[in-house]
């Protein structure tokens, strides 16, 4: 009996091992292609300008620092840190706005039973599918009339007014998943809605809040069209516009600094991602499901 079963077990084991090796080889192959541009920009930032396009080496033969040290000069008299401060202001305000306003709205949808709730919820979901561009022009006209262009107000107003339906939806889904007993108990203890929202639901919603905060931060950091339309004095520019300005000023001649600046501009996003990728990915996954 054993003499028969032993080889069978081994082949199954072996098959498992080759399967595992094949899996890793396959995954690594896809990964290599996917991460190529990221590694390339890392390598290119240490290459002399003239080599960046022309050299096919992924990593520099002789690394140089001049691309990064060149950034200290700034762009036509504006320091790089100005762009970073502006972007941080934008992203910070956006995060505060989205977390606060979306969680309040989500609490109402998830926990308060009021007349017209389902209709309003459907309308909110509807705005998810509405192309942003149809609002772009009238919003621009409105903010122009209010003389608020060239400030951060048009960029963050919507965040404080819960217009980012995706995050409201994410939080509603999360709040609905919380055990009912909790808010019933709170009610029995005499907690009003504000109290229940603040001391019970919000702390429990931390994963959804963090997900929304990170997504908001990254979206604001990457945002290009918003700043392109609303900001017009260079010292108010965000990093995205700073990069564009850089390209206009320096052009191909200074490819090195441009690539270095691109890399530096990606650092906050990549850092955030590394720190919170679990939340982000799970948040993304739950938003697609029920």
């Amino acid at each position: 009996m054993t003499s028969v079963s032993t080889p069978v077990v081994r082949t199954a084991d072996e098959r498992k091992r080759t399967g595992s090796i094949a899996w890793h080889v396959g995954s690594l192959a896809v990964l290599a292609v996917v991460l190529y541009p990221v590694i390339w920009v890392l390598g290119a930032s240490f290459k002399p300008s003239k080599d960046i396009i022309a050299s096919i080496d992924l990593l520099p033969v002789k690394p140089v620092w001049e691309n990064f040290s060149g950034l200290a000069d700034g762009i036509s008299g504006i320091s790089i840190s100005t762009f970073f401060t502006n972007s941080l202001m934008y992203a910070g305000l956006a995060v505060a706005g989205v977390v606060l306003s979306s969680s309040l709205t989500a609490y109402a949808f998830a926990k308060i039973r009021f007349a017209g709730r389902n209709l309003l919820f459907t309308m909110m979901i509807g705005t998810l599918l509405l192309p942003y561009h149809v609002l772009l022009i009238p919003q621009y006209v409105m903010f122009r009339k209010l003389e608020l262009t060239d400030t951060l107000v048009p960029l963050v107003a919507g965040k404080f007014l819960a217009t980012e339906a995706f995050f409201v939806f994410l939080m509603v889904q999360f709040m609905r998943g919380l055990p009912k007993e909790l808010d019933e108990a709170a009610k029995l203890d005499g907690c009003g809605h504000l109290r229940t929202y603040w001391s019970i639901v919000l702390p429990l919603c931390r994963p959804a809040l963090i997900t929304s905060a990170i997504f908001t931060f990254i979206n604001a950091w990457n945002d290009f069209m918003g700043p392109l339309i609303y900001l017009n004095t260079p010292d108010k520019y965000t990093v995205s516009l700073g990069l564009m300005m850089f390209r206009d000023q320096e052009g191909i001649s200074n490819y090195g600094s441009m690539i270095a600046m691109s890399l530096v501009a990606l650092v906050p996003v990549i850092a955030f991602f590394m720190a919170f990728q679990r939340y982000l990915i799970d948040g993304m996954a739950t938003s697609g499901l029920k």
Partner: protein, 318 residues
Amino acid sequence: MTLVKEAPARPAKKRSAAPAAGRRGRRRENLVGYLFMSPWIAGFLVLTAGPMIASLYYAFTRYNLFTPPQWVGFDNFTTMFQDPRWQKSVEVTLKYVVVATPLKLLLALGVALLLAQKRRGQGLYRAAFYMPSLIGASVSVGFVWRALFSDDAIVDRTQKVFGMDVGGWIGNPDYVLYALVALSIWQFGAPMVIFLAGLKQVPQELYEAAEMDGAGPLRRFWNITLPMISPVLFFNVLLESIHAFQVFGSAYVVSNTQCGPADATLVYTCYLYQKGFKEAQMGFASAMAWTLVVAVALVTAVLFWSQKKWVHYEEAAK
């Protein structure tokens, strides 16, 4: 995907013991509810509904921001439909949507199937594959793309090895759009994660039963996996195609703010931006925006209509 969970049986019955207090309570709940969502209501009125009405009005006017809008009826629309650049932008956008969306979803599904297997380092792979989805929208990556696909750069050189000399994709009107398509496909992480979550929901018993019946991997994929994840597939198709219709940043940055050469990457929103914010033709741009809304609504409607034929919902579950 259930967007609105049916409200469970109302506890109103319990309250009916004291009807007066119940009614007052309900009115209070209404008030509190509206107070809690007042930010959204304000935002909806001021930043969504109001602008929608305004832009519908602008679409029928000639408006340059400096003089009051002037009613012109359907002029914007008739000019638009005859405008060769508008036609070009429609063509470019459709090409982009039709090529980029299926390829991106195919890759997302393929990698999701790979990652759905329980292996070591799964989480790490998942995170790495997701990263492009986050940085892909940035100007930085636009520059990187320009560098990778320009003349004599890495893609061009690799092609030359295989005897294909196109002189770089960025400067070539026949190829530059595909550099954008590549950038879009590269960001397959978001749909991948949604596919992964869907794959996790497929009951393992189904596979075991099928295997006992002698179904091979292909058959199992076709008869079990695909129908079971069809709601997720539907969600991804819907979301990704809607996004693809609205692509802007990458076209603007990769093709050097001109959306060219020769209008080769003149995606719809790029033309809208040029008309509205460069030429101050706010009426024309609004007409374009509404045409986009109608197009997106049509695509959404067709997709929702088609889902009866291919999306499999498990009604009994839960």
